[in-house]
Symmetry: C2
Subunit: 245 residues, 2 copies
Amino acid sequence: MVRLFAMPPENSPDSNLISSPPRTRRKIRVAEKSALLTRAKLIDAALETILAVGYYRASSNEIARRAEVSWGAVQHHFGSRERLMYAAFEAACTEVTAVLKAARVTGDTVEERLLSVQDVVFGFFGKASYVGILQVMWNLTSDPDTSDELHGSLRAIVAQIYDEYVRLMLQVSPDASTEFAWFSYMASWGLAVAAASGKVLRYADDLEESNLLQRRLLSKALSALLSESTRTAPAGAALIESSKS
Amino acid sequence: MVRLFAMPPENSPDSNLISSPPRTRRKIRVAEKSALLTRAKLIDAALETILAVGYYRASSNEIARRAEVSWGAVQHHFGSRERLMYAAFEAACTEVTAVLKAARVTGDTVEERLLSVQDVVFGFFGKASYVGILQVMWNLTSDPDTSDELHGSLRAIVAQIYDEYVRLMLQVSPDASTEFAWFSYMASWGLAVAAASGKVLRYADDLEESNLLQRRLLSKALSALLSESTRTAPAGAALIESSKS
């Protein structure tokens, strides 16, 4: 069984460095820098390879070849193809969490604010590379060799993205219920994945334009749904601005 | 290069059979039946294997093992793993096209009719096995060995499903524009894929209940969007029944 997330050894390289002579220290730092660069190259190449040749053909060898690193680099730096894939998934999720954290909800109406949130969400889930991320997620979940620890980490990362989304949704409207936020997230996610899939399948040339129209229609539909569900308490609508503080 | 969709030889087995003695004919028929059964087993096993161990580990050998057929059966009956995967994709699409063709749109209001269509769409795109079908589609599209002919067939099958959806949408409301039908399809597809993905990731125990609520909310949102877009021509709403004939 592949053990993902093995803990680092208790004597970390940093604590050992303290007693090393300066020359050795510099050498080790250079080696560490080079290792980080190789890891980053492999993480980038993993998603690129999936998109270029499909998930099935994205073997460790093929990824290393495209990353222009040595044949054994995946094994050396990650331990296994699965662990490299997880690292690529984690890097992408960390990025989107940061983007959502930094996002500003703009617009005078609920519909405009919904669109501003969707634009952010779409910027991640609507990219062709998300089709690769989805496959990593599904494959790691189904893989019998995936450890319980990894299953837990996968869920935690996904939950973190959703928490950031909810924070934005409360800026769209303080009337947004948990039910509405969840539905809105699923619908926006789904529409973005449809767009990402359309990019991979290269169905149309005017995808960007079509995707923007789709986001506008969803914002309109969600706004209508929200105003219908809060029609009994219209006073709440006036509180939208105050929730931003 | 793998040639998918090679044409059958001009002298088909059936035409040869006419001059065969009765005994040989029966033998060949038994052999044909057995071949069909093996093909069907492999097609079923392909999606099951993807769900059980992930797309990457769903090799020809693993699929044959789970189908309980001989090691070389994939090569013998399909020529390649890719062609088996395409056959599984085609079988699933043929099934959903038939289901959509046979579907009846029911309900007194646009919202109810939208829900009845979504229930049908969801019955296919919302199944965990659709996550496998999606991966087949994405992988065959990205695979450099996929022939142009296959790319064309993939698109044609997907277009057929959408044509059936549009037919149902016109039964929901004759006011449904091309734009609305496309948006409604993408949104329903996306929500169903979100549900299918949730099943694979096993995020919650009460998925069925949650998914029904999501479909209800989408029907409500789409209905609000449609009535808003046709508000300028309310007379059209009365024509809903007449379009069904």
